[in-house]
């Protein structure tokens, strides 16, 4: 790097002002980020840890320190584990197809296309649509009596599937929403990475007699591995915090219970239910649920990391 920029030595007040400016102003320029992060990011984060050790409800003045009681209750809370199971289940059945479709789409887009921008726009159009809109439109499409999806199924002799009431069927509907919104976004990320793969690799593969499919499998996919890991991490963090789609999939859209049998209540929904839906306002307990979710995300990221390292050492 070029040596840092220093104003030419000056004498007098102006020079002193310049030196002061050079010394102090950088801190002023980075301070908005840090100040706002401390107030709205760091402080709440630390405070959650404290709140989770109390029996706090909304703003009641008689908050008691209860130690690890919230966590002890959480471990025995079947609703919590139900929510964890739902979250993991929906996450898997929406992430796997989503990333596979994205890979295929990127492969299709990585060709000599006419109307390239048009097709790319088609692919990211769902990304522009808000979560709320996606949830409401698909809830209508999946509705039991007048939904278009059931109408089409009926043509094949399958009648009145009640998507919302079953566990697996509701998970499936939610995974369709997630996949529809995110596959194109991931496809663009893969496409950007594909374009950075050096052409020599394909030439070498072609000389070795690898046809298109083999090239895709043995050149494209291995070269994309860092990007694939990146998208897996992003979809893990996003997928485990799933809220809007299941919240609005519910017929009454305000209880956050995830269906009458809690068949699709996610962890964030459960946290929302305890803290904000209805009249419970159990903030201490909700904060403990938040930390449970954080552990879950950390744990799965760790598993991701171990799997990746395993694959790497196996190859080396």
């Amino acid at each position: 790097m070029h040596s840092p920029t220093e104003p030419r030595r000056r004498s007098g007040v102006r020079g002193r002002l310049h030196r002061l400016d050079a010394k102090v102003s950088p801190y002023a320029y980075v301070s908005p980020f840090f100040l706002l992060f401390i107030v709205f990011g760091l402080f709440p984060l630390g405070y959650t840890a404290y709140v989770s050790l109390t029996d706090r409800t909304l703003l009641s003045s008689d908050t008691h320190f209860v130690g690890l009681e919230n966590y002890a209750n959480l471990i025995h809370d079947s609703y919590f584990w139900n929510a964890v199971g739902n979250t993991l289940g929906i996450w898997i059945i929406s992430t796997v197809p989503q990333l596979l479709i994205a890979l295929g789409l990127a492969h299709l887009l990585n060709t000599k296309l006419k109307a390239r921008t048009f097709f790319r726009m088609c692919v990211v159009l769902p990304q522009v649509t808000s979560l709320v809109a996606v949830a409401l439109i698909f809830t209508q499409l999946f509705s039991r009596d007048y939904g278009l999806i059931n109408y089409v199924l009926q043509l094949f002799g399958i009648h009145h599937v009640n998507w919302e009431s079953g566990r697996l069927s509701s998970w499936f509907a939610l995974s369709v929403m997630v996949t529809w919104r995110w596959a194109g976004y991931n496809a663009l990320i893969y496409l950007a990475a594909m374009q950075a793969i050096p052409g020599e690799l394909y030439e070498a593969a072609a000389i070795d007699g690898a046809r298109a499919w083999k090239q895709f499998l043995h050149v494209t996919v291995p070269m994309l591995r860092p990007t694939i890991i990146f998208t897996v991490i992003i979809s893990t963090i996003g997928g485990l915090q799933l809220f809007a789609e299941p919240y609005l999939f519910e017929p009454l859209k305000q209880g956050a219970t995830g269906g009458s049998a809690r068949q699709y209540q996610t962890v964030v929904m459960y946290m929302y239910e305890k803290a904000f839906a209805g009249t419970q306002f159990k903030f201490g307990y909700a904060a403990a649920i938040g930390w449970g979710l954080f552990l879950l995300i950390a744990l799965i990221s760790l598993v991701n990391f171990l799997i990746v390292r395993r694959i790497r050492t196996a190859e080396a």
Partner: protein, 294 residues
């Protein structure tokens, strides 16, 4: 291979054309199907929004737009019939998204400039801190953040959704990378020799140079803010909603009135859809650039 004798430029061109296989009719067919799949749900919301409710239950279903859109829009905006004020929601969301976008771009550019071109103690450590904050799931802090907002008296006020979003670690990082690569040190030296203070350098040299990446960051920030749901739902009630909260309130109040609910939904998508049609190329570039930076 005979490529040895060729000029380098020619060789690169040939390599690229060789590497990118041509798109056959199959590719176009598949991509066209994907395009239909992408657009259909949005088209469908327009179809439902432009009929009355009897069309929703029609058999076989109606697949083309009808003539009731104006009527439904009137019900939504002006009839006083619905449980939430959509005018307020649209104005609120515009205020929030615009403020957040300007702040994120400005603060990111300032911090990015400092990290890229100014020397100060703790620079490396602070930059690493910025990057590290990207890994913290902020959702975790929702409960105490809510308590904080109650203490501030900001519940149901727009500050509650604006203030926590005024800065973005991703934005700072993106700007820093861009400024390192695109603003030559000589230019900054020259400005300082001319007597500019650092703020003058920022204003006259850096800000004009970062315009392309500022546009991309601004677009993505605007879209994200417009679509944000969880936090606004928590801190804003139906009396003073953003558009996403308004649509969700509408949907919980008019469960069976699909025409009305999807009219609201369509209204909530439309502004971004227009932005996307006009600036789609930049948005795509932004997503792909973000991917490369990781």
């Amino acid at each position: 291979m005979a490529a040895v004798a060729e000029r380098p430029g020619e060789r690169t061109r040939r390599r690229i054309s060789r590497r990118l296989s041509g798109a056959g009719p199959g590719t176009y067919l598949l991509l066209a199907l994907v395009g239909v799949g992408s657009a259909f749900p949005l088209y469908w919301s327009l179809v439902v929004a432009s009929h009355d409710n009897s069309a929703v239950s029609a058999y076989p279903p109606v697949l083309t737009p009808g003539g009731e859109l104006w009527h439904n829009l009137h019900r939504l905006f002006d009839s006083g019939e619905v449980n939430v004020n959509f005018w307020t929601a649209l104005i609120n969301t515009t205020i929030v998204a615009t403020t957040v976008t300007f702040a994120v771009v400005l603060f990111s550019a300032l911090a990015g400039f400092a990290f890229a071109k100014l020397r100060f103690r703790g620079r490396r450590a602070l930059l690493l801190t910025v990057i590290a904050t990207m890994l913290v799931p902020v959702q975790l802090g929702v409960i105490p953040l809510y308590i904080e907002m109650v203490k501030f008296g900001w519940i149901n006020h727009l500050q509650a959704v604006i203030a926590p979003n005024l800065v973005s670690a991703f934005g700072v990082f993106l700007m820093r990378q861009y400024i390192v690569g695109s603003v030559p040190d000589e230019l900054i030296d020259a400005a300082r020799v001319d007597g500019c203070y650092t703020l003058g350098v920022f204003w006259h040299v850096v800000l004009p140079a970062v315009r392309p990446v500022a546009a991309v960051l601004g677009l993505l920030t605007f879209m994200t803010t417009w679509n944000d749901f969880f936090w606004p739902l928590v801190v804003l009630g139906p009396q003073n909603p953003t558009i996403q909260v308004a649509v969700s309130t509408l949907a919980s109040g008019y469960v069976e009135d699909y025409a009305l609910v999807l009219t609201g939904t369509f209204v909530s998508i439309l502004p971004l859809l227009v932005v996307f049609l006009v600036l789609g190329r930049q948005i795509i570039g932004g997503i792909m650039k973000g991917a490369v930076k990781g």
